[in-house]
């Protein structure tokens, strides 16, 4: 029997409790207390996947110790470094994560890069189970000539820059071009476009970094064109974010009526979310916006547009050969219909002048350690309901399990699923917890021997307080510290 608490505490299904004669549950419990081994589980990554997995495990297992290791000195992954600064409500999840981190059965350690500072094998020596929730640290490449010219950025780097991600703090994007092209029709593309077009007075009240504000104040960008390789029925962004774009106070939408005529029939039978999303685009493109909106749109100098059925072929340089000047696009047509439709080039090619290109075609996960199987083609850890294939004791959740799509609620559900698999394996004995494990103490001594000092959750709370205090001075919810050295100094390292 591998997990005492699990069996005795099982609530649903034909619980053992009901199968045993009265009194024997207590008997088993007493018997097991002496030999009781605490299941020790560690989680790699402190984004929504890491925290929701931890939350579920702590909540549904009374004894389990769940520790979290995070590469950055600070927690919360994309909630801090992805979610747009003008969407503070989304970040409320941090409150629930904070509760989890403060549990006396959870030790959070930042500043520990798993795979480098400590290996997966070492973690497996210290823990009965290791859950990989390390997200997607890279971006998908376009794989076209000119992708590395000056003026071409991945949306990931741009987002990291305005959100204060240490590795992107010195990006200094060149915003001197009047036209910006955003490649991709996902929500990240809309985030990036919105940040480029939003009035400064809105951004100034957000937790966007001061450097980004200064750069955006000098930005020359007037037009943002979002380019998708497929059609209006295949956009990946969602309606709330589209509506926000349409309602931007100082930019007008330009949706080409020709792209939207005749879509009415195609959406009759599609599920409601796609239907409403399409209807909003159709309405914006084809209907009279009403007097108030029309006069606002007439008075603003900034504009955004959606361009469809164009696939990027090449970014063309200026005469200097270094700086982006234009983008060459293949005109495409759709093969098939609906979500599965494929874009195929028609042979026609177009060019569009632009000095700023933001490639927002998705994030990408990377392998973390040779001990963990990785499907390089799909960019995920191969798994069955979160159980890493062919690696007992290893689990995964979040973007590294599913691929880099899905909002926080999607990540939450899939993390609960993974936690569920761990609980099942504890109960069935598939996960062997018969031997005691060294847990955090063992990892700490390994880290110590390598000169790595973890940043604890209470350390983070000091950094947090300092950021909030700095933000107060300028009327922001916080001023993010972007230099890891400064963070470490703050906590006396």
């Amino acid at each position: 029997m591998s997990c005492s608490a699990g069996i005795v505490g099982c609530r649903r299904g034909p619980s053992l409790r009901f199968l045993l004669p009265k009194g024997s549950v207590a008997g088993i419990k007493r018997l097991l207390v002496s030999a009781e081994v605490i299941p020790r589980i560690c989680i790699v990554g402190s984004g929504p996947a890491g925290f929701y997995t931890a939350q579920h495990l702590l909540k549904h297992h009374k004894q389990a110790q769940v520790d979290i290791f995070e590469k950055l000195p600070i927690p919360f992954g994309l909630v801090r470094f992805g979610v747009a600064p003008d969407h503070p409500e989304v970040k409320n999840v941090i409150n629930a994560f904070t509760q989890t981190a403060r549990s006396d059965r959870c030790i959070y350690s930042g500043n520990v890069t798993v795979g480098k500072d400590v290996t997966i094998k070492e973690l497996q020596k210290a823990y009965h189970a290791v859950v990989l929730s390390y997200g997607a640290e890279d971006s998908r490449r376009l794989g076209i000539p000119g992708e590395d010219l000056a003026g071409v950025y991945s949306a990931r780097a741009f987002v990291g820059w305005y959100n204060g991600l240490p590795e992107n703090r010195d990006l200094k994007p060149d915003l001197s071009s009047e036209t910006a092209v955003v490649l991709g029709h996902g929500n990240v593309a809309l985030d990036v476009a919105r940040i480029l077009l939003s009035p400064l007075e809105i951004l100034r009240k957000s937790d966007i970094t001061e450097d980004s504000l200064t750069a955006l104040a000098r930005s020359k960008v007037k037009r943002v064109c979002l380019i998708g390789r497929r059609g209006p029925l295949q956009v990946a962004f969602t309606i709330k974010e589209l509506r926000e774009m349409i309602n931007l106070p100082n930019a007008r939408p330009f949706l080409n009526p020709a792209d939207f005529k005749g879509l009415g029939d195609a959406i009759k039978d599609v599920p409601r979310p796609r239907k409403r999303l399409t209807e909003l685009m159709v309405k914006t493109a084809l209907e009279d916006p009403g007097e108030a909106m029309a006069s606002r749109w007439a008075s603003v100098s900034r504009e955004w547009s959606l361009k469809f059925l164009r696939s990027p072929l090449e970014v063309l340089p200026m005469a200097d050969g270094r700086q982006a000047r234009a983008i060459r696009l293949a005109v495409t047509r759709l093969e098939g219909t609906g979500e599965a439709a494929k874009a195929v080039p028609t042979g026609e090619v177009e060019e569009m002048l632009c000095g700023l290109v933001l490639s927002s075609i998705g994030y990408k996960s990377l392998p973390i350690d040779p001990a963990v199987p990785f499907d390089a083609k799909q960019g995920v850890i191969p798994n069955d309901l979160g159980r890493v294939l062919g690696a007992t004791g290893l689990y995964c959740s979040g973007w590294v399990k599913r691929g880099p799509t899905g909002v926080i609620i999607t990540t939450m559900n899939d993390s609960f699923d993974t936690a569920q698999s761990v609980l099942e394996d504890l109960q069935s004995g598939a996960l062997d917890v018969s031997g005691a494990k060294g847990g955090f103490d063992l990892v700490r001594s390994i880290l110590q021997s390598r000169g790595i000092c973890p940043v604890s959750f209470s350390d983070w709370e000091k950094i947090d307080a300092a950021e909030v205090a700095r933000g107060k001075l300028s009327g922001k919810p916080r001023e993010k510290i972007t230099d890891p050295r400064e963070m470490l100094e703050l906590i006396g390292r």
Partner: protein
């Protein structure tokens, strides 16, 4: 433009306790605290009883005051619904998705575009779905039953090892 519900929700979120925290999480006196209601104790007439059918079929019954949102009811009564109310009532998450009975659904206040937009991202969307943080208790809701939709991607029974007999 913010919906009225959104404004209201945002205003009340400062007094929201942390949701969906693991059992036993949190040190005493640590973290944001829910402020005490300063209003006089409501009379029993202002109380509305609501039954929640949880994901596992368990029935949870709780009371709230007229004007409370269903999210308030879940939080105030510490109802154990996994992941409920992640954005704390600010129309930014859809984890407060609830399914209503036909007759009650008809009687609810009209839905705003903003609620509908967020609802479109909810799991297990039905034509009687609403977001709990946008539904405010009225007297005629007394004894209503709302259902928490199944969220887990696969239909496994969820295991709970937290409750020792």
């Amino acid at each position: 433009m913010a919906a009225p519900g959104l404004l209201r929700a945002a205003a009340s979120s400062c007094r929201r306790i942390l949701l969906a925290a693991p059992a036993g999480a949190g040190r005493p006196n640590a973290g944001p605290r829910r402020l005490l209601h300063v209003s006089p104790r409501p009379s029993s007439e202002d109380k509305v009883t609501v039954h929640f059918v949880n994901r596992d079929g368990d029935k949870l019954t709780a009371q709230g005051k007229v004007g409370d949102s269903l999210l308030d009811v879940v939080v105030d009564n510490n109802l154990d619904i996994d992941g409920f109310g992640a954005c704390e009532g600010t129309l930014a998450c859809s984890t407060c998705h609830l399914i209503f009975e036909d007759q009650m659904y008809e009687k609810l206040d009209a839905i705003t575009d903003e609620e509908m937009d967020m609802l479109d991202l909810a799991y297990g969307l039905t034509d009687r779905s609403r977001l709990g943080c946008q539904i405010f208790l009225k007297k005629n809701m007394n004894q209503m039953t709302v259902r928490v939709p199944e969220a887990v991607a696969d239909a496994r029974q969820s295991l709970d090892m937290s409750k020792n007999p």
